[in-house]
Subunit: 347 residues, 4 copies
Amino acid sequence: MVGGGKGSFIGPIHRMAIRMDDLADLVDGCYSHTDDWHGLIARCRGKIDFLAVCTPNSSHYEITKAALEAGMDVLCEKPLSMTLAEATELERLARRRRRVLGIPFTYSGFPMVKLARDLVKRGELGKIDKVVLEYSQGSFRKIDFSKPLDKRNAWKMDPKKAGPSCVVADIGVHGFHLIEHVTGLEVRQVLADLSSFAPGNRLDDDASMLLRLSSGAKAMFTVSKVATGEENGVRLRVYGDKASLYWNQEENNYLSVKYPFAPERIYKRNAPYIGDLSAASKALSRIPAGHHEGFIEGFANIYREFCAAVRDRKPHDFPGAHEGVRTMRFVEAALRSNKNGNRWEKV
Amino acid sequence: MVGGGKGSFIGPIHRMAIRMDDLADLVDGCYSHTDDWHGLIARCRGKIDFLAVCTPNSSHYEITKAALEAGMDVLCEKPLSMTLAEATELERLARRRRRVLGIPFTYSGFPMVKLARDLVKRGELGKIDKVVLEYSQGSFRKIDFSKPLDKRNAWKMDPKKAGPSCVVADIGVHGFHLIEHVTGLEVRQVLADLSSFAPGNRLDDDASMLLRLSSGAKAMFTVSKVATGEENGVRLRVYGDKASLYWNQEENNYLSVKYPFAPERIYKRNAPYIGDLSAASKALSRIPAGHHEGFIEGFANIYREFCAAVRDRKPHDFPGAHEGVRTMRFVEAALRSNKNGNRWEKV
Amino acid sequence: MVGGGKGSFIGPIHRMAIRMDDLADLVDGCYSHTDDWHGLIARCRGKIDFLAVCTPNSSHYEITKAALEAGMDVLCEKPLSMTLAEATELERLARRRRRVLGIPFTYSGFPMVKLARDLVKRGELGKIDKVVLEYSQGSFRKIDFSKPLDKRNAWKMDPKKAGPSCVVADIGVHGFHLIEHVTGLEVRQVLADLSSFAPGNRLDDDASMLLRLSSGAKAMFTVSKVATGEENGVRLRVYGDKASLYWNQEENNYLSVKYPFAPERIYKRNAPYIGDLSAASKALSRIPAGHHEGFIEGFANIYREFCAAVRDRKPHDFPGAHEGVRTMRFVEAALRSNKNGNRWEKV
Amino acid sequence: MVGGGKGSFIGPIHRMAIRMDDLADLVDGCYSHTDDWHGLIARCRGKIDFLAVCTPNSSHYEITKAALEAGMDVLCEKPLSMTLAEATELERLARRRRRVLGIPFTYSGFPMVKLARDLVKRGELGKIDKVVLEYSQGSFRKIDFSKPLDKRNAWKMDPKKAGPSCVVADIGVHGFHLIEHVTGLEVRQVLADLSSFAPGNRLDDDASMLLRLSSGAKAMFTVSKVATGEENGVRLRVYGDKASLYWNQEENNYLSVKYPFAPERIYKRNAPYIGDLSAASKALSRIPAGHHEGFIEGFANIYREFCAAVRDRKPHDFPGAHEGVRTMRFVEAALRSNKNGNRWEKV
């Protein structure tokens, strides 16, 4: 593992997720910025099953590249890179070297998100016309800007380490992937209005966006780190011409489906009927309905599928290089739209 | 009363709302399109306290105008007119004739919306940076388009009767008013992406909009009649730099306020502490907390304030000509934005 | 109307409920204790359609008796009387005189309670085995017992005016009626553990009860006025061998039904499918789903059915003398059980 | 580990919980009934840190006894034994041998339950007067009784393996412990009405109980495995004279506290303010608010504290022999009460 050391939010989650299903042992790592990841890659070459990259955004590209070139499989934190060009290069490299490249777009590992995707795929919603996605955090409202920022927040507002975008690149990519994953549609165009509300923040911390999807569907998409009082409010609504679905990450064990002429249905994770609707949803559940699984379990599901791919050398159900490229394409289009007076940009 | 006869949704609500507080007696009316409202105005002149106009949009202007000119006070359904020019004329006419002109933007009559407004006014939220408003109905998904439309739906999709907009003029104006009423800010600009998803519908039935508010706040605003499975989903989120609020019309007796460093607070209608925070909220409650009031009561609150103005000949707390003009300004700007390639338009 | 004057909680609700559907005009009344209800009955004899009795418990019996004897139909507040013997006498008197006697067990007038009853009747739940009912108020925690009680609370704790029970007679009867109404079963036995937690209260303000129902079902039933922080928490859960239902008065427009092998279903008041399941539920709804109806509307539904009976001289769907007797039978059995060391008593 | 093999619900949870925090390695085990646990104890003697006992109830006592006598620390599934006498003996044995004995009453390991306990301890609720606890599962409604039962269910209905009680011993003990843990009060008396609703079940599968707590509080307590449609519905309400709390296991990251004169407060797991209110709640959280932790994490918390005790050889915050004895005392009293005509029995 590179990065994810002391004070990191995501590092411990990676480690708990790996242990959850006893998938792998953590054998070596350099957990802070100053450590020598070159050395790590050199000494682990040929000896480990995969490398987990949990550093700030700016080093994702070079570390992942080096690891792929050293013949390693890699699970790299999102966003995959600072630019679309880098992401595209990594995708090509992984393909050429036949390496597995995974990216933990965590929410797509949640069992009820898999159910949502599979219900859409089965046609339960009909043709999708509208999507509303809120990804609202209030994290930047918990910062005392009169003091030096702590490490966990500082790099996210620093263009050198975070890249050209803060909120869109950090959590917007999660939302974007969630939309494409659940609807099975492609986002074709984005129109973005970005803001910096946190004192002194030079990057975006709030984004109001319109999307146009393949098949003509429209979407509204808000992403924010200044949504005061919100913790990790990911709320997805997908409206088809036959039914709609609603998933709220903060009540992640449930999925609601609403109909014009029938009562709303609340599906529950790992309930007896789930397997008939979504084998993936059932497979990613560990314990019975009513005994909740949470974020670590969702994260572990990404690892589970990734490790299966590492083991089997064939595709499994987890986000990888393709999704990394898609999300970077989106980040760049959103930034372009905002720069160009909020006009539509192709994704 | 003009309009609101058999098959009408809103007519019976007006009548129940009026009776709720025993404010007025319904003495005369012409309840269908073919009736002679000219005759009604002529015979009621000087004999009634006010006229309620519940007809389809296209006749709001002329009936309201005639009534004002006949010296009557008028409560006219939204939208006030087909065009901004008409609304402006009615506003001037009412002012000149010193007549009371009310418009039932119902949600602003709900006690917890008054509390929301008053909490914002007291500074509880701090400076407002972001607003998210969903007004999602699935009503057009309940229509069997293979058959002739019933009267209640037909006129809303008919440009001659509904005017140039369906969903924005019909329910978008409610949402727009709610935003301005609660935040105390003005919407300065709108960028709108309108769609017609219902089969054969020539008007907008879905709108994805971005707003810019005075003081620099941004808003996302979706309005839809094709949000399958939704009933009357009005969900308002206002994020300030100190706190945020959430109000859901379908749970209208509650208001949630969230803080960065304190537990979420759920305020309850007419609970003992409400009066200290919002005299208006308390005044508009009839029965104790825990015994819910609903839509009719909210509607009756608009009437209560309107009738007080009719009686006292001075302003009370209800939406009137000014709000009628603001909302028409918004409708026209949204239509213009959509026509002009989704660019920003001034409201 | 007798009683229900200034400071009364229930008086204004009666009046709003009557006006809601324009069912009747309030023509005469004596609204305070000191008024002469004898005079009222004398002067209204033969001139009114019915008398509404909203006085404290202790005078229900004598006023209702006098009115019935004067040939009036009567809607009397619960509990119908101070003793079972009185209730039985009133039931006989009403039958002999062919008078309509109604009692506003309000919750049975809520559309989703009617749906619950009708789903049970249709066998949707199968054989009912278990019922859990909470009726929890915190009203007595809002009283400052260091000062003289205000009128609204004082009589409820005064055995002379309230009778031998406070919480069981005041709100326990609502819960009891709700159980019998929804399940269609009879409560056969009760085991009650009553408490007086409010300072200086000589009557019961909290009751923990076990019930046994016809068909062998068991129930748990808690009623409280010292459930701090609760407003009017009526929560009913009915478990059959095929499905269960859950209704929460504070979210009264919804009804949840849960199955072993299917997703939970959330039914919504007046949604398109309601009429097929429960004609009564549909008939008692005034406005579309998503536009909530509340307590006043539920109360008005009792009046609507009662007035239909007054008009048609035949039974309609509202609680009357029989329910008045059943509930008094329950109150006396619960008091007996508590006195006799919490043993089972026949209802 | 003994027991918890193929088809077991709890076995995998133990293993995931142990790995979650990397507390221990599973070095040896006999996972099925026919395996030789004597051999396991013999070969592990002196070589392991502790033994986890996950067998059916009937062997808890003898295995735990043997392990304690072999000088092992033990974490034994609930209920600790078949009888109170056995539990008492194990408690004495553990004390005499200075061995750590833990029992996974899982819910007491949930961070928001710790917060609940600590809020009570700080006096936030005042004097506790009433408790309502529902522990409702519908698991027995998912069984096809026309076929042979699968192993997981069969032993729970078999008096030889489960002991004299099914639902009270299996999940009632969780509820009982939760009440005592959160309120800090002792349950002094129980009055129980047990039923067997599942076809052919000779043991209790539903219990309606009244409790009396030290300090005079009353409680209602329902436990059921025939609550059709429920998954794992643990809902705890504690009413003090100053405030009340509500915790629902199926929304376990939240805790609601309600006041007579202030808005309801929703506390969120690991939010910034938690540490000031409950160090234990904060210490048992792994990831930020909004990223939910679930059942496995709660279970892991029991292990975390247990392992700390194993390591430090001093008491930590987890349920042990004392709680095992208390719960067995309760089981026996409830069975006695039911047998003796539902009279009060001392716990």
